[in-house]
């Protein structure tokens, strides 16, 4: 059963480090442009899990309201497909991975203009490399807060 997306949900976009110029506050809008843009539903997959899976990436957050405001639609798209051959393997108890991702969702119809608007609305959680540092700090008992209002691809 695919859990419907609630109006108050937020999403995380993984951003490849090459798509984030080192001296810029946000990634290039191209990081938000894909005919089917993959995102993670934050309610089902935390940024810490995203960090663990892609420690070198940057991570951006935006909301359902942001997506609706620019005239796009987001659809839940859990991986693997619950209706497919692998769908009955209880993804909740399998270790999280890019392939086993019940939080996966897609945004369709993203063109240059929409990608630019989504980039403007999105907030930075981690810039590339920052969550790796946070992960190490957590392992050493320290604490590193995600960037405030700061630093996507599942």
């Amino acid at each position: 059963m695919v859990e419907p997306i609630g109006d108050d949900e937020t999403f995380i976009r993984h951003v490849h480090p090459k798509q984030w110029p080192p001296d810029q506050a946000k990634p290039n809008s191209g990081a938000f442009r894909d005919s089917e843009l993959s995102v993670d539903r934050e309610r089902l997959r935390s940024v810490e899990i995203c960090c663990m899976l892609r420690p070198d990436h940057g991570f951006m957050r935006f909301s359902v309201a942001d997506i609706l405001a620019i005239g796009l639609v987001v659809e839940a798209d859990p991986l693997p497909d619950p209706a497919g051959a692998q769908g009955g393997l209880l993804p909740d108890i399998l270790p999280p991975s890019l392939e086993n991702n019940p939080a996966h969702a897609i945004i369709r119809g993203m063109q240059k203009s929409e990608a630019k608007k989504l980039k403007d609305r999105a907030e930075v959680i981690f810039r590339p490399g920052e969550c790796d540092a946070q992960h190490h700090a957590a392992q050493q008992g320290g604490e590193a807060e995600p960037a405030e209002g700061a630093a996507g691809e599942p």
Partner: protein, 352 residues
Amino acid sequence: MGRLEGFAKAFRAATLKSAQASLSIPSFRHSLGDEPRPDYRLVELTDGSTTLVLASSDDRPVTREAVSRHLEAVEEYDRTGAWPPYVYPGELQAWAEVYQTLFRRSSDAEAVVSVDGHDRRVTHRSVEALAREPIRPLYREVVLIGTLHLIDSEGKRRFQIGNKDADLSFDLGDDPVEVIDPFRWRRVRAHALWEVGSRRGILREPLALTEEPMGIEVLRELDAPDWVVGLLERTESFKELPAGWNDPGSVKISAARVEAAKELIRRLHERYADAIPEGAFPSFVPNSSGGLEFDWEVGDRFLNVELVEGGYDILATERDRDLYSGPANQREVFAWIQWLLTGESPPRVAGR
């Protein structure tokens, strides 16, 4: 009388046949890839030979583009007193050479150049301005490992070193041939400056025999500050991304596209170095479709430029209002950049 007419006819045919001109612009030629150079030839002589008509030998887009670029450059120069930023090194001078061949020393001579039904009168004064503009060469510092396969000690006094990727020509200067001769047909290491877009090289160190694999390694781009070099190096690194670098469907970035992006960075720096503060220069990033693109924001104005197959795809917005989204050629890209930096009225784009 019949023989005289026959001679005139033969003379006319021979003149038409022999009068051909290829547009030789080093950097332009470099960017043509495997395409032949634009070629133009004499097709008509009027009575009294006061008018010559030249026409392109084919109707390829590049042939028309070469002329329309040139006409727009002349127009802009006449209007503003400055040449537009998109001209290639050597482009102005190549056109000057074409006109000087036709005009000779006649200061009254003029040419009427037409493309797509648009006529432009090019005067002797315009030609002088074309010829006066110095070529500003760009250099790369390279190490070329290749075979020294040619020594010309009589004509231009030069030698050539080549491999399958590059074939550079070096001036022999005042050196006696004996200095170079021991390297003939041998594999050599040449540490050199390569003039971008041409085959000219300048040795930085004496030649040395080597067993290193054939190839050419670019050590650095010259004539640019460190931060531009950094941008060029970052862009160069996109060549190493494998297929699937971002997601299973993401496309490998082609070497040709990386070179095109680097060329655009160099041109932007050349043209706008004084207008753009350090750190505000746009930075190319790869996208999953195999394109390279940058976002550039100045005040309320935003420009996304993407290098795609056959040209550019851009988005221009102001205060979140889309002004243009779609394909563009290089002239239009520079016009949009001018708009971005100055806030002047947005350019008109064909088909808009």
